[in-house]
């Protein structure tokens, strides 16, 4: 166990494909006070008491866990640990002269990373993040925002295909960027798998493109390339271990770390983050647009897709690229976008998996009026992901809730007697 940005982390790095039985998050029974905050945060109920409804909680079985880590970032006692980490493996890869190590940082990482170095919440630190990756010894600074743009081209075109009937798949189309959401559909709503966009997530695409298109650009054998996915997310570790993410002919995503683990690596390497200059990523697999950076917010993928699809369908430019009707802080937001030459496009943005259930039940009954639905597991989107630095007020707030819960529990116990 190692403490990484205030989160206990096991240095267990499973081999490729070994992901079904791994616990990506688990409760340390010696630290759990049984307050139940994790249980109330958990969208599936995977974390619960082993006996009765009081006492220490545990992730009973990994099959029911979507690996989102909301339990971990909301635990007032720091009792939940991460069960998988590739930090040591990446440090050795960076030292290995035969490996060409490339970076794949997600959009939301650059809005959380600086908090680990004393900056206010939400400080943008993209330039310093790329500089830090260079200093750590990454050979090529490629950026996941580039494939966020590619995702829009693919997923937006797929949506147009479904709307016109060219693609023989059902409506509504679901976004497929969020690994917690994907596992949720695969496990709890397998009958709706056809509604999921067939597009890989941006990092799934980038992993493949690094070892095909990218390998050609840098004149390197694909087998030498070592791809590091850097995510605000714990569930992305599960995604990186999926055996089917191998379309380059090799393992597409070699290692996955969180924003917290990147901060840890920067500190451990003795890099003075705050004095770094701002650096740009390498252009070919690194250039990106505003549509890509908003992927980190609930509603961002929807807005980016609409910026593409509106023009592709109508042939007309959007009056303004800011589509504030789909930006969402939490929960469910629906909007109707009139698109010339198509009609009304009904869309819905959801964050917090619990909120999807009524919508999914409607779709199962064939009653949904939506064409396109964006889902993110974490409330507010990836910026609030389970792999981000812990928010300053979270532990305190949960502790307050815990005190109230304790009073209530005592009161109820007395009544029962």
């Amino acid at each position: 166990m190692r403490k990484i940005e205030n989160v206990q982390t096991s240095m267990n790095a499973p081999s490729w494909g070994e992901y079904e039985n791994a616990f990506f998050v688990q409760v340390d029974q010696t630290k759990c006070e049984g307050c139940g905050e994790c249980e109330s945060q958990c969208p599936t109920g995977a974390i619960q008491c082993i006996d009765g409804d009081d006492g220490p909680r545990t992730v009973v079985n990994p099959a029911a866990c979507v690996n989102c880590g909301q339990c971990l970032i909301n635990c007032p006692y720091g009792a939940i640990y991460e069960g998988v980490s590739f930090v040591e493996e990446i440090f050795s890869a960076l030292k290995d002269p035969d490996k060409v190590v490339v970076s794949m940082p997600a959009p939301a990482v650059r809005y959380g990373l600086a908090e680990a170095f004393g900056h206010p919440t939400g400080t943008y630190s993209g330039g310093k993040m790329f500089a830090a990756l260079k200093k750590l010894g990454f050979d090529h600074i490629w950026d996941n925002q580039w494939t966020a743009d590619v995702t829009i081209m693919e997923e937006g075109s797929e949506l147009l295909g479904r709307l016109t009937g060219k693609v023989k798949k059902p409506l509504p189309q679901f976004t497929s960027c969020c690994p917690g959401w994907i596992k949720f559909v695969e496990t709890f709503y397998p009958e709706l798998i056809p509604n999921l966009s067939t597009c890989k997530s941006p990092v799934g695409m980038l992993g493949t493109l690094c070892k095909t298109y990218g390998a050609e650009i840098i004149h390197t054998e694909p087998k030498k390339i070592y791809t590091v996915s850097i995510m605000p997310c714990i569930a992305k570790k599960f995604e990186g271990l999926r055996p089917e993410i191998a379309d380059s002919g090799y393992r597409d995503i070699d290692a996955t770390i969180t924003t917290r683990e990147l901060a840890y690596m920067i500190k451990k390497a003795g890099i003075d983050f705050n004095s770094l200059p701002d650096v740009e990523p390498d252009t070919e697999l690194g250039e990106s647009t505003g549509a890509a950076t908003i992927f980190g917010c609930s509603g961002g993928v929807m807005e980016a897709a609409l910026r593409f699809a509106y023009e592709a369908v109508s042939g007309q430019a959007l009056e303004s690229v800011d589509i504030k009707a789909v930006r969402s802080r939490n929960g469910v937001k629906e909007a109707t976008i009139p698109v010339p030459k198509f009609g009304d496009l009904n869309v819905c943005v959801v964050s917090g998996l619990f909120n999807t259930i009524p919508i999914l039940e409607e779709i199962k009954k064939g009653k949904s009026r939506y064409h396109f639905i964006e889902v993110m597991t974490c409330p507010g989107g990836c910026v609030n992901g389970g792999g981000q630095p812990l928010l300053p007020d979270v532990r305190e707030a949960s502790l307050f809730k815990h005190i109230v819960a304790r009073i209530n529990r005592r009161f109820n116990m007395r009544k029962a007697v």
Binding site: A64, G126, S157, E287, C297, V404
Partner: protein, 109 residues
């Protein structure tokens, strides 16, 4: 001395209890409004949308490096090559869940 505050023991407990309840409620309420003003998730989101407006290009289809990828490599979105490299298939994982449910595990979904 005894009669400065003329309440019975029972009344005192009632008043003290109400006062404690009111304090707790006010504290909680103040804390909630403080948290609302200091919404950290919102702060991260706002930072994202500020950065969006600063970018040279705002729409994915305008990204020169994305145009180059399609021109040199994938030809067009959803092409055969794009499907091979950028699309995937999903696995029905419900059998594992059925095993858990058969064992009597209660879940929220």
């Amino acid at each position: 001395m005894k009669n400065i505050v003329n309440v019975t023991r029972r009344q005192f407990i009632k008043i003290a209890g109400m006062a404690a309840g009111a304090t707790l409620y006010t504290w909680n309420f103040t804390k909630m409004s403080f948290a609302a003003a200091n919404d950290y998730i919102m702060q991260r989101q706002e930072s994202v949308y500020v950065q969006d407006t600063k970018m040279k290009f705002r729409r994915s289809q305008d990204n020169p490096s994305v145009k180059a990828l399609y021109a040199k490599y994938l030809h067009e979105p959803n092409s055969h090559m794009a499907h091979q490299l950028l699309h995937t298939e999903y696995t029905d994982r419900s059998p594992l869940l059925m095993v858990l449910k058969a064992k009597g595990m209660k879940l929220k979904v």
